[in-house]
Symmetry: C2
Subunit: 451 residues, 2 copies
């Protein structure tokens, strides 16, 4: 479970590990669909021009070129050159604009795909990884309620996964910007950039940054830090912010929005959604609610699910498409699940039954038995050779197949549970394995160790 | 359904089209798992050296470079340069070699992923497309029976898809090579290359090629063409080949193998698996059975599923891994399903029920209703705003949501089928929609038009 990838930054799973990942993906798909999100996929490539529209990420992009490129093909500086997408938000924005005439808004979609980043790989970061995104996008306007709803959907989705407890930390860009403005700091992005370093470098050094780089007074720096220190599980953060004595319309708007998220989430996902006024989400293009998520006891893993509200995910002429969305880092999550042994698959193959051969001529008859079993949803393999039964049983045992089927020459059938050794007569038209043996189970291993 | 891709060769689907693709993928996954195939994924990239090992495909490869590559990074000619995989066989071979110590053989896997080819796009070909592969790989040896089994699995998988009837055409490389050798033609690859053009250029021009390029006599050319003209639904091809009067051990071996496939397939998938001695599979590395599949009435689409037996898919020192496998061209198939309107999705969203709002304060109570319904697997959306009921119903209607839920102020519930207009009292803890409305159905549209 801790093999090294043969190509650094490009993890690959063994079959029993992939079963865990498939389980995670199935749970996410099911939860998203229960909430009315429809699936799309976008192509893996965008033009470099499209990818760089938001700036500052060009180092991480893998550009494509045909190995035997011809004269006149898109060159290094050509904005039409193709490159692999580095997230699912930029491609989704393009998709919405291109297909606006065919979509009905608000458009709710989930999208689960690989993305690529050409960065030097480091702990917890891969060059190829899977993201699972949900977004709701409106045409012109999008009610704030969706900001509340998305926190609930994500809490439900993560809560259904085989992971330790988690905390969705929520903040609001309006709240922060309104507060900073109220204390006389107008470079919101600059302040957020500094506040974003709080966990890494501590309050004193952030205060220094605010003073030295943004010209904040000592009082302003302390006020900004006081705001960032507020974390509550309920809406009491509102009073704590008010106690700081800053008055600003935008601040009030942000407080009301965040209070709505926290109040509803407190009701439906108690303890899992917090107001955390230190959450800055770096330089992203969010304009209201922002979300980050950590696994309790694994905070150093970083955020496993982040997102927020953007007033203009995309625009088309005078038409804008506001949205709110979150992205789950599936590979990061699955890597942690596997490396910590949170769960294990009960076997590495789907097969529940191996139908053995009495002699080489019985293969076709064995296929008949297999077809009868499969008709009831039982995964079956037929032995390829009439080896000694001991060898055929060993084949099943090696891959964790729980049952072995025997058909004797007089046409009677028996099935053996190779774990218990119990062997009983069975009818291929009726026999069923116990429900827990029907498909590989992804089940909790030992209790999750804290770190 | 016939929109042009915004980037030539990179098809993207609308939500209702993606539902059809998802249905296809779900059916394939289910069928493969019922037959004991386990899932893996491999990374999207391989080194150029790995990809070009089999030669002659370098034109089609998309190589990667970081947009801001640094000095000393893999250059144009570096075999360690990364490129996108162009099929799933080469990556699978690498995966088997790398993980041989962790796999149990014969290893049965399915793999469904995108692949990329940097070719000029043309009718029926894309630059990015999804393949669904199944292979069985042995360690050192692999019983021939798997060649029979894989034809049966694929016949079952394709038979479960919403597509017109199909024909799996099977040939055997040993049969062809033995026959050619028996008539004195030793350049098997050369003869196969010419025979492969039979459908395109006709028998006369193939005979010319055999004479002019391979130095065949008129008699040899006619014999090779006579072999290629044999197609039977049963094992009568054996007698037809024998009637050509050629004797060769390798030919006999090939005849016996092919007869075994056709005999068993004739029993289980009558009419769907043919012996077709014209199938050459170009320059591929197959060493025995070869398969191709056409949709009846859509032959000009080309093969939708191809593969074969290879004596050494991979090797590791003195250890070789023989395999047999097939690859379904999912994108090609789905494109045809969509463009021909073989099927349609009953709606474009998973949502079965929209819970309406009486007033803006009822959102949280509406979420309670939604949670009760979802607990029974019903996909539910809650209206975001308390607009007039007419507007809320129109929202559901526009996206094909069949049911709308009302909760009155006294706490009673009603559900309306907006197609029939029927509205009845309902209990959120018990109500179920009819089974066919629970999830979007992918169902046959008008009978498939022949072309």
């Amino acid at each position: 479970m801790a093999r090294k990838a043969s190509l650094s930054g490009f993890p690959e799973w063994l079959p029993q590990e992939r079963l865990v990942e498939l389980h995670v993906l199935d749970v996410l798909r099911r939860t998203f669909e229960l909430h009315g999100f429809t699936n799309i996929e976008t192509r893996a490539v965008e033009t470099v021009g499209q990818l760089l529209r938001k700036g500052e990420i060009d180092k991480e992009v893998y550009a494509l070129s045909r190995l035997q490129a011809e004269e006149g093909e898109a060159g290094r500086e050509d904005p039409n050159r193709l490159a692999l997408h580095f997230d699912l938000t930029v491609p989704f924005a393009r998709y919405v604009v291109e297909n606006a005439g065919h979509l009905s808004f608000p458009f709710r979609r989930y999208q689960i795909q690989k993305v690529w980043r050409g960065e030097r790989p480091q702990e917890g970061r891969a060059r190829e990884f899977t993201q699972a995104d949900i977004d709701v996008v409106g045409d012109g306007e999008l009610p704030f309620r969706y900001d509340v709803e998305l926190a609930l959907v994500i809490a439900e989705a993560l809560g259904a996964l085989p992971i330790p407890d988690f905390r969705i930390r929520v903040n609001n860009r309006k709240l922060a910007e309104g507060f900073y403005r109220g204390i006389g700091l107008t470079d919101t992005a600059g302040v957020l950039r500094s506040i974003d370093k709080l966990e890494k470098i501590g309050a004193e050094r952030v205060a220094e940054l605010l003073r030295d780089e943004l010209g904040a007074t000592d009082e302003q720096a302390q006020a900004a830090l006081a705001l960032a220190s507020i974390r509550t599980e309920d809406t009491s953060f509102v009073e704590q912010v008010r106690a700081l004595g800053v008055r600003e319309d935008l601040l009030e708007e942000g407080l009301a929005e965040l209070a709505e998220v926290i109040a509803e989430a407190g009701r439906r996902a108690p303890g899992r959604v917090l107001a955390d006024l230190s959450i800055a989400r770096g330089l992203d293009y969010y304009t209201g609610t922002v979300y980050e998520t950590v696994l309790v006891g694994h905070e150093q893993l970083g955020s496993i699910c982040s997102g927020g509200r953007y007033d203009a995910l995309a625009s088309k002429g005078s038409r804008t498409f506001p949205g709110v969305g979150l992205s789950i880092g599936v590979t990061r999550l699955v890597s942690r699940i596997l490396s910590q042994g949170f769960v294990e698959a009960s076997r590495s193959v789907p097969t529940a039954v191996l139908v053995t051969l009495t002699d080489d001529g019985s293969w076709s008859a064995a296929q008949d038995v297999a077809a009868q079993l499969r008709a009831r949803g039982i995964s079956v393999e037929v032995a390829a050779k009439a080896e000694k039964f001991g060898k055929q049983i060993k084949y099943a045992d090696r891959r964790g197949i729980p049952f072995v089927w025997f058909t004797s020459e007089d046409g009677t059938h028996e099935v053996k549970d190779i774990r218990s050794g119990d062997q009983v007569p069975a009818d291929p038209a009726a026999w069923m394995p116990p429900a827990e043996d029907l498909a590989p189970q992804v089940r909790a291993a030992a209790p999750a160790p804290a770190e």
